[in-house]
Symmetry: C2
Subunit: 363 residues, 2 copies
Amino acid sequence: MTGHPKILNVELGSKSYPIFIGSELLTQKSFITDHIHGQQVMIVSNTTVAPLYLDQVARQLDEYNVEFIILPDGEQYKTLETVNTIFDALLKSKFDRTSTLIALGGGVVGDITGFAAASYQRGINFIQIPTTLLSQVDSSVGGKTGVNHDLGKNMIGAFFQPKAVIIDVNTLDTLNDREFSAGMAEVIKYGLLGNADFLSMIEENIELIMNRDKDLITDVIFRSCEDKAQIVALDEFENGKRALLNLGHTFGHGIENTFGYGVYLHGEAVSIGMHMAAMLSMLEGDLSKEDINRIQNLLSKANLPTTIKKSMDSESLIKAMSLDKKSIDGNIRLVLLKSIGDSLITGSYSKENFNTVVSNFCH
Amino acid sequence: MTGHPKILNVELGSKSYPIFIGSELLTQKSFITDHIHGQQVMIVSNTTVAPLYLDQVARQLDEYNVEFIILPDGEQYKTLETVNTIFDALLKSKFDRTSTLIALGGGVVGDITGFAAASYQRGINFIQIPTTLLSQVDSSVGGKTGVNHDLGKNMIGAFFQPKAVIIDVNTLDTLNDREFSAGMAEVIKYGLLGNADFLSMIEENIELIMNRDKDLITDVIFRSCEDKAQIVALDEFENGKRALLNLGHTFGHGIENTFGYGVYLHGEAVSIGMHMAAMLSMLEGDLSKEDINRIQNLLSKANLPTTIKKSMDSESLIKAMSLDKKSIDGNIRLVLLKSIGDSLITGSYSKENFNTVVSNFCH
């Protein structure tokens, strides 16, 4: 399949755009250049990804005025100050409204660059080249861009759609195992929340997928993006159904916030969170013990944690969870499973069952 | 007409919103409260406007959790740092995605607050209460929000529509004469660029308008917003026809940039710029000497300058003009008049005529 990507069109009216998924896409010009309209292009990357792929991308752009900015790597740099350094660079180089920003890197680079593109001169062209599995299956669809604030994650940002997303699965060759597994948490999420067939496909092929078989990975990314695109198309600005994508995330954010940066990767916290949501769904009478085992088994085969390894008390977790953006008047809304492949958003579950789950996972 | 406003609906599909224009609107609850959906409201104002109108507005909101933030007054505070102080306040008060930002003040307060509303949690409710004639006839329509950067004005921002705009013409009672005249430059602009009937109406009533007759002012603001709304509806994201609104602005920005802040008000620079654009239109064979006299006469009756009073050299002005956001590859695109009430955007005018106009105004 080298060079012949799968193409997913994300349908959002005048904001529709294609996602190209396949091998060796970064060695071909047209996937990028077809989506550049002016002459000025700025590539935003970070100190980890730039040494690996910046040359390859820049080589496709020899007909343009190309500049680049290399950010330090890490979530702690996902700030308004960093966005401002991009504005500085754009203005110093006199980039106009026809210029294009390319995000080359993982979710952090994509979120920062997308917000810069949304806000520079009230919006310029934006192309995403996600290089981690997590960003390929998550940030490619949905148009969420933004940065953190000292007082909260992702509190500043915009909904802003890219002109195109180019996913070269070869970039996964340089991704470390732990990051790869973290991406798999989101992949498994799509199966659990709405696509039982996809979940079965992942289960049947989990060893090959974990060995990063190119054809299978291409298919897995395509189906993940397709599932997410269907949900986003129904609810672009996150007023309803889109919240289903938060399966495992409310518990997960609580775990991340309690431990702080660097203990669990986002995907790892989501993996534990999905296990917790599944447990609560079982206590609510919707899942069987076999379902729980099946979920835990798959997450384990993807080398993901399903329990909290470090000591954490219930109160801290619940407090962190109630700060979630989606909680309304302190009531923690959760995504629970009705069955494997079917989910709902609800604030009306037994608080006793909720407390049971939390205290079972905390110690 | 006290309390019974004129209502203009700005038609932008799902982003449509009403503009209420009339006397004593700030003493009535419903104009504001009908457009607040959550419980949390933050009023953003400045040190000049807050002492005059903040109490009046806050009094209508006794059923809500209201906070306010008072910015220093002046264009020099229209920065990303100021927007960040609004984010700080919103997060410290734990304002969620259902909260509402109200901009109470002139264009600077509106631009800053609008961008904060566009970016906080990727977009929250926004209500505008413009208190200067300029912001009432200009910022009420079009959704342009944003801040300045050291290297350029309005370089960072978003297109973001308010839920409602409330124009209480009584707020003009406290506006100084010079600011009132600056607002009139934009009013006259709408007549010149596309509405000869409106221009005649302004000419016939200019003395009463300058005396701030409430009924006439209400009508003038309504017709200005209506004209702008018609153009914006055709071109929300400023890719074409919307540039007609820049009549006088490319020359005007050049004058503002050359002299720096504080010499000319924006409207004053636009007034000179419209005179320059009209002169060039005459040299291009489209306006008569009588037309020029008519335009200059009306601007003078509105107490607006029509010539550059301080010394300025042609080269500086041309250089400043070619930095304009709308210039493409160094070619300065201008809005010129085909006749009074009819305009076009063009880059193909005689450079000799252009230079003649510039050197006639510079000395």
